[in-house]
Symmetry: C2
Subunit: 457 residues, 2 copies
C-alpha cells in the first residue's frame, strides 16, 4: 500500500485562469488560405458570414490579433468549472510499468461533460448581445448539442438542435440531457427543412450525418432574421475559444515541475477544436523556441481526414451551403462507418489545423476503435474516469507512447486532453467488453467515392 | 449582461483538505443505543460483526475518538477529486428573486459521480490490508455499486454487486458503469443465494428491494472466508467517512465570508450518510456554541422513516440477518413505491441520525417527488448541473427556504449538499417534462402493514 503523498491533480487558482484566448494565426510563418464564396469562388468577406454568425464572431474568425479578451460575462460562467484540473496518471503509469510521465487535462468536469462549453458559452453570449433570439445547430453523439443548450439556457436564448438520426435513435440519454437544458431536438434528416426533405427522398440518408444536420441547421438560420447558427468545431473562432485548455495546461505543466514542457502531445481530432485547444498554445512556445514537443493528432481509422484525405477546397456541409474551406477532406459526401466515437465522424478537418499540418508543424496518425476502447477501459479501471469514445483515441496513442518509453527506458513526458466523460456512451463499452466490437474496414473504393465529391475550385 | 466578477466556486487547496474524519458520538449529550445480536438480543460485540467487516472498520463503528486519521493511501485517492467545490448558486438565486444566499457542496465531481466514494475507498482499503479478496454489496439506483466497483478496481479487490431488480431492469447504464469498473452485477433477488431463492418463490418480491439485496450480499460474505460485505450508508463508520464533506464545507463557508455559518442546512436522507456527512461537523460547532444552524433532513414522501416511522430496534435487511439497530424505521418488510430517487428507498434511518433526531438536534420533513423534480429542472437550467433525483429533495427544500426569505426579506444563508449528478437518471426528467410523473400516495394501511413487521425487542 503506497502511503506517500503523490500529486495527482495540478490545480490553478481562479485568479490564475487566463483572461484571453490565443489566436495562432499571426504566429504562423504563412497565413491560412481564405474561405471562398460557394457561388463565386471569390474570397468570402464578413458579409458572406453575416446570415449565420454575429459580427463579433466573424471578426474573431478573421482576426490577426494574437490575444483576444474573454468578456467578463463569459469568464463569470467559465469560473463555474474552470480552471479545469490537469492530472498526472500515476496509476495508469504503474499499470503500464512505464517510466513515462503521463498527464491529462480533464475537460469532463464542465456542466455538459466535455470541452464544448468553452466555445458554446461565448457563442451564446455574442449572439445574445447582437439581439439574436434563437440559435440552431447540429449534433452527432450529442456533446455539442448539450453544451449549446446549456449556454443558451444561461443567456435566455432559444436553441434548436438537429441530431444525426443514428445517434438520435441510439443515444436517447444525450437527447434527454439537451431537452433537460430546455432546447428542442429534431432527428436529422427532418421534414422541417427543404434540404431535410430532399435528403429523405433517398433511404440511404435515413441514418443522417453531421454534414446533413449542418445543412438543416444552416438553412433555418439563413432564412430567419433573428436566428443564427452555431458550429461546435472547425472554424477559427471555435478553435480559438478552446485555447484556454492549452493556456491553462501550460501553467499547470510548469507547476508540476515539467518546465521543459511535454515531449509529446497527443489529442483526438474530429473537427479539431479539442486538439487545437490543447496544442496551439504549446505550438506558440515551440515556434518561439521555448519548447520542442512533438504534436500528434489521432483520428479514427473510419474517418481519417488528415491521413487519408486530400488538401483541397470543400464544403463544410453535405448540401454544399457553406463557404468553401481549404482543408483535409474525405469529400463532403463521404459517409463514415457508424463507429462509437460519433464526435470524430466529420468528413473534413479544421482549415487552420490543415494548414498547420501542411506546414509540417504537427503529425497525424489513425487508430482503429478496438485498440482505443482497450485503452479506455484500462484508463477507467486505473484512473477511475470512464472516457468518452472520442478521447479513447488520444489515450490509445498515449499508451503506445508510454509502452515505447518502457522499451527504451526514456522518461518521456506525455500530455493529452481527456475532452469528455463517457457517461452516455456505456453501450459502447458493453459492446467492447462482450467482444462484439469490430474495427473499421473502409475499402479504397469507398474513399475514392468520397474524394470524387470534392468540387474543383 | 453582468460583467462583474462574482465568486461562484469556493475552492480549497489540496493542502487544506482535512486529514481526519470526525466522529460525532463523543460530542453528543448521551450515547446512541448499541446494536443487538439478532438471536440473543444482547448488545452486539465486535466479534458479531467480524464475519462481515474487517476489524479496523468495526473499531471505527464503535469508536469514542473524536477524530480518526485518514490513511495516506486513502488521502492519495481522495486527492483525485477532493477537496470538492462549494458553489454559490447566484443564477438560481436570481431566478427565484430571493435575498437568500444559497450554497451547495457538489460531490458529483467524484469518479463515480456522487459522495459514495468517500466511504467506498476507505472500506476497500481496510479490507485490502486485512487480506480480504472480494467485497459483496447491494445497490439500488447504482450510485453505491459504482463507487465500490471503482474503489475495488483501485485496490485490486474483486467486487460482486446485487442490484435491486427494478433498477437493474430500468437503468442499464448504471449497471454498465459498474461493469466498466470491473465488478460483477446480479439482478436481485437472484438464484445465487439461499435467501434470494426463498424470496423468488413469491412473485411480489420480483422487483426486489434494498433490504432483499442486502440479505443476499450479506449471506455471501458471511458464508465465505475471504469475502466481506460493504455497506454504503446507515452505519456509524460510513457516516464518519462522509464527514469530510462537512469539514471542507466549514472551511469553504468561512472563505466565502459566511463566518456566522449557515442559517439553515438541508440535506436529503435515504440511509443518511450524505446528510450526516454534510451536517455533523456543523452540528459539532452548534453543540460548541459557535454556530446556530437549523439542520433539516428531507425525505421522500414515499419512504419517510423519520417523519412517519417509529423509533425502535429493527433489522437492516429484509431477511433479518443483520444485527438489530435502534432507528426510525417503517418496518424491514416495508416496500416503498418505485419512485425515481432509488437511493432514498430504504426502510430505516441511520441509528446515529435517529438518535440525534430524538435528542431534538435536527428537524425532518418529507417532500413528494413532483416538487423535487421541478426544483431539479430549475436548478439544471440555471446552475447548469443536472442533479440526481435524490438531491432534488434537498434542492426543493432549499427553494422553499429561499422563497420564504423572499417573502420576509431576510438574507437567509442556506447550505445544501448536491450529492450527485443525474446523468443516469434522465428518464426520470423525461417523465417529469412529459407530465407523466405522479406523486407518492401511500395509504395509512400500507404504513401500518410495514410497521407491523418490526420485531418486539
Amino acid at each position: 500500500m503506497d502511503e506517500q503523498v503523490r500529486q495527482h491533480k495540478i490545480t490553478l487558482e481562479e485568479s490564475e485562469m487566463p483572461t484571453t484566448w490565443y489566436n495562432l494565426v499571426p504566429d504562423l510563418p504563412s497565413p491560412p488560405p481564405p474561405a471562398l464564396h460557394p457561388g463565386t469562388h471569390e474570397p468570402a468577406g464578413p458579409e458572406d458570414f453575416a446570415p449565420l454568425f454575429p459580427m463579433d464572431l466573424i471578426m474573431q474568425e478573421v482576426s490577426q490579433e494574437r490575444y483576444i479578451d474573454i468578456p467578463g460575462a463569459v469568464l463569470d460562467v467559465y469560473r463555474q468549472w474552470r480552471p479545469t484540473p490537469l492530472f498526472r496518471a500515476h496509476r495508469l503509469e504503474a499499470a503500464l510499468g512505464t517510466p513515462a510521465r503521463i498527464y491529462y487535462k480533464y475537460e469532463g468536469v464542465s456542466p455538459a461533460g466535455s470541452h464544448k462549453p468553452n466555445t458554446a458559452v461565448p457563442q451564446a453570449y455574442y449572439n445574445k448581445i447582437a439581439g439574436v433570439k434563437k440559435l440552431t445547430t447540429e449534433t452527432g453523439a450529442g456533446q455539442w448539442g448539450t453544451a449549446l443548450a446549456f449556454a443558451c439556457a444561461l443567456f435566455d436564448l432559444e436553441c434548436e438542435v438537429w441530431q444525426v438520426g443514428a445517434s438520435y435513435d441510439q443515444k436517447p440519454y444525450r437527447r434527454l440531457m439537451i431537452e433537460t437544458f430546455g432546447a428542442q431536438v429534431h432527428r436529422s434528416p427532418s421534414e422541417l427543412t427543404a434540404v431535410g426533405r430532399e435528403f429523405l427522398k433517398d433511404p440511404k440518408n435515413l441514418p443522417g450525418s453531421l454534414g446533413i444536420a449542418i445543412s438543416e441547421a444552416v438553412e433555418v438560420a439563413a432564412t430567419n432574421d433573428d436566428v443564427r447558427y452555431a458550429l461546435g468545431s472547425v472554424l477559427n473562432h471555435v478553435l480559438m475559444h478552446q485555447t484556454i485548455i492549452g493556456e491553462e495546461a501550460l501553467l499547470q505543466m510548469a507547476k508540476a515541475g515539467e518546465t521543459a514542457g511535454p515531449d509529446v502531445i497527443v489529442g483526438c481530432t474530429g473537427g479539431g477544436s479539442n486538439f487545437a485547444g490543447l496544442s496551439f498554445p504549446f505550438l506558440r512556445e515551440k515556434l518561439a523556441g521555448n519548447m520542442s514537443p512533438i504534436i500528434r493528432a489521432v483520428e479514427p481509422a473510419s474517418c481519417p481526414s488528415l491521413t487519408k484525405g486530400v488538401y483541397a477546397y470543400d464544403f463544410g456541409d453535405t448540401a454544399g451551403m457553406t463557404p468553401l474551406m481549404k482543408m483535409h477532406t474525405l469529400g463532403h459526401d463521404f459517409m463514415p462507418d457508424p463507429i462509437h466515437a460519433g464526435g470524430l465522424r466529420y468528413h473534413g478537418m479544421a482549415p487552420l489545423i490543415s494548414h498547420v499540418y501542411e506546414l509540417g508543424l504537427m503529425e497525424a496518425i489513425s487508430i482503429p476503435q478496438i485498440e482505443c476502447f482497450a485503452a479506455g477501459l484500462q484508463f477507467a479501471r486505473t484512473e477511475g474516469i470512464v472516457p468518452a469514445p472520442e478521447p479513447t483515441h488520444a489515450l490509445a496513442a498515449a499508451v503506445r507512447e508510454a509502452l515505447k518509453a518502457k522499451e527504451t527506458g526514456e522518461e518521456t513526458v506525455i500530455l493529452t486532453a481527456l475532452c469528455g466523460h463517457g457517461h452516455f456512451d456505456l453501450a459502447a463499452y458493453e459492446a467492447y467488453m462482450a467482444g462484439l466490437m469490430s474495427d473499421e474496414e473502409i475499402s479504397d473504393a469507398r474513399f475514392a467515392e468520397g474524394l470524387a465529391t470534392i468540387p474543383s475550385v
